[in-house]
């Protein structure tokens, strides 16, 4: 019975999330006060949602593409001594408030999508890098030694032994990064990169709670959706 329920869950979660998103949107759009009603129309909701998705996807994929290989490289015996240094640098980067990061890069690269993606990318690096490194280090040295002793080549050990064993931990890092990313991406609105933040920021300045609620609800649901999607991807692989 539990197995059945579990299988049902995989279908149910996205359906519930979609239903919640749609009903929240419909509710707020239909009940919008006059001042908010100009902004809160369906095409607008879809547009900012699309922008938000694009920001999250591009920055997350780039972060995975950079942080996973970097984490693997610093876990190699030759790089072990510099691993704490690199981790430290990325760690410090993480302590800077996300809004400050955006502001900082705005002065360097100007307003817009690219700056926002860059800041989000930088912000997503740490959880992925840290987990990749931790995942690689978690593998018992005796397992690697057995593989070496049996004559496996270094790249085969990486692809057949190390990566599969570290995969769940790496995936956990990616999930953390993406979930944080969905939330942080609402700040992109401040530098004119769009996204669900547009509703929240405008809602604050116009004091229209339905705008804030729409932006907040959709970004929260989006975070849960991505978390669930990645969890399923992990099991599937």
């Amino acid at each position: 019975m539990w197995r059945k329920l579990n299988r049902l869950r995989t279908v149910l979660v996205p359906v519930i999330l979609l239903a919640a998103g749609v009903s929240a949107t419909v509710y707020f759009v239909e009940n919008a006060t006059p001042m908010a009603a100009r902004l809160l129309v369906y095409p607008n909701v879809l547009r900012v949602l699309g922008q938000h998705l694009l920001l999250v996807l591009v920055s997350s994929l780039l972060a995975i593409a950079a942080a996973v290989p970097l984490g693997i490289i610093i876990s190699r015996p030759a790089f072990r001594p510099v691993a704490p240094v690199i981790e430290g640098i990325v760690n410090i980067g993480q302590t800077v408030p996300s809004l400050a990061v955006l502001a900082l890069f705005m002065t360097l690269f100007g307003l817009g999508f690219q700056t926002a993606v860059f800041a989000l990318w930088l912000y997503s690096l740490l959880p992925i890098l840290r987990n990749t490194y931790a995942g690689m280090k978690s593998i018992g040295p005796e397992i690697i030694e057995a593989a070496r002793g049996m004559g496996m080549k270094a790249h085969r050990i990486l692809s057949r032994i190390e990566l599969p064993l570290a995969f769940p931990i790496i995936m956990a890092g990616i999930r953390t990064a993406v979930v944080i990313n969905v939330g942080t991406a609402t700040l992109a609105s401040f530098i004119g990169a769009g996204g669900l933040g547009d509703f929240i920021v405008t809602g604050i300045s116009l004091r229209r709670t339905e705008l804030i609620y729409t932006g907040a609800a959709l970004s929260a649901l989006l975070a849960i959706f991505f978390d669930d999607l990645l969890a399923r991807l992990e099991k599937y692989v």
């Binding site: 018992g140 397992i143 030694e145 593989a147 070496r148 002793g149 049996m150 064993l165």
Partner: protein, 374 residues
């Protein structure tokens, strides 16, 4: 054949070499046990053979070829490697684990599958049951078996084994050792076996290399080691009860006496059996069936007191029976355990062979000691 020539390993940052000017010859088809306290360099020595560790000085030859000139990957693919159970890959199934080396060698898939089943059967695990399990689903002893099967997958002529039976309880350990010796009797691999357990070394080794502080203290067959330890260190390592340990080296069949306890076919009557009793030293007869299989014993009193019946009706089973392949040490513990002067010896198929007595056992040990001294 493996030859180590002036092999030295000096790890950077250490005052003393881990292995110091080692010279050794390991004959083909024999088990050579490296034994000594931890830090004596036995594992380092073993790992230099498959070049997991490169020697600082000296050369290692396998069948006359300098290993330094062979590609390390190629060298390792032809040397089986067993470490403690934790060396199994936890995310792969038992079959995938065993298939590691054949896969690296690029064998065709059906040949690999066939080989995996063959090996699982060899180490006593049913292929259908265990093929698709993960290492975590197996007991410690089963994992060790898989480790051995994995090392033998591509039928390498040489096996390196680092405490291969280290992580299991003593009973399982003894069973694994016996099974492995049986496999080795057929396979005749050249084996380097590392252990810190001197009893295991005596049991497993055709030759034992005792190491201390990176040096080879004594290199000899176990019998010689026990009768003439090279120095005080070896003597202490072997322990005080060396004579009893010698019993581990002698098989029951070598001390077998077939004249002390006659067998009586089970269809004979008690009266006929009574005539045979004179030939028995212990006033007991072994009862055997048509195929000469031991079915029990009859005591002299039983024969005298009973009326005329077939002996099969008054025969009693007894626990003091042992296989001819067991060691005298096992025979001795059985005698002590049953409080008996003798144990009956049977073949693997259960055929009655004779007895080993406490007296013959003592005599044999005495002779053996004399021989070694002379």
């Amino acid at each position: 054949m493996i030859r180590l020539e002036n092999v030295t390993k000096h790890f950077p940052g250490q005052d003393h070499p881990a292995v110091n000017n080692l010279n050794m010859l390991i004959p083909e088809g024999e088990i050579c046990v490296l034994v000594g306290p931890s830090g004596c360099g036995k594992t380092t020595t073993m790992k230099m053979i498959n070049r997991l560790i490169e020697p600082t000085e000296g050369k290692i030859y396998i069948k006359g070829q300098d290993t330094a000139t062979i590609d390390a990957i190629k060298l390792r693919l032809d040397i089986g490697y067993v470490i403690q159970e934790i060396g199994l890959f936890p995310h792969l199934t038992i079959a995938e684990n065993i298939a590691t080396v054949p896969r690296e060698k690029g064998w065709p898939r059906d040949l690999i599958n066939q080989r995996v089943d063959e090996l699982l059967t060899l180490v006593g695990l049913e292929p259908e049951k265990y093929r698709h399990r993960k290492p975590a689903d197996l007991s410690g002893g089963q994992r060790q078996r898989v480790g051995v099967a994995r090392a033998m997958a591509a039928d390498p002529p040489i096996l390196l084994m680092d405490e291969p039976f280290g992580a299991v309880d003593p009973i399982t350990r003894a069973r694994l050792q016996n099974e492995f010796l049986e496999i080795q009797a057929q396979m005749r691999k050249t084996i380097i076996f590392v252990t810190h357990d001197i009893d295991e070394a005596i049991k497993m080794g055709d030759k034992i290399a005792i190491m201390r502080d990176g040096k080879l203290v004594q290199y000899a067959p176990p019998g010689e080691l026990l009768s003439s330890p090279a120095d005080e260190f070896v003597g202490r390592l072997l322990g005080p009860n060396r004579t009893i340990k010698r019993l581990n080296l002698i098989a029951v069949r070598e001390a077998l006496r077939s004249d002390l306890l006659p067998a009586v076919p089970s269809h004979l009557s008690s009266e006929e059996a009574r005539l045979l009793l004179k030939g028995s030293k212990f006033n007991v007869l072994a009862v055997v069936d048509r195929r000469n299989s031991l079915t029990g014993f009859v005591r002299g009193e039983q024969l005298k007191n009973s009326s005329v019946v077939p002996v099969s009706e008054i025969a009693e089973p007894s626990p003091n029976v042992i296989e001819a392949e067991a060691t005298l040490n096992e025979a001795l513990s059985l005698m002590l355990g049953c409080g008996s002067q003798f144990v009956a010896v049977v073949s693997k198929k259960g055929e009655y062979k004779g007895v080993v007595t406490l007296g013959s056992l003592l005599e044999l040990v005495k002779e053996d000691v004399k021989e070694d001294v002379a």
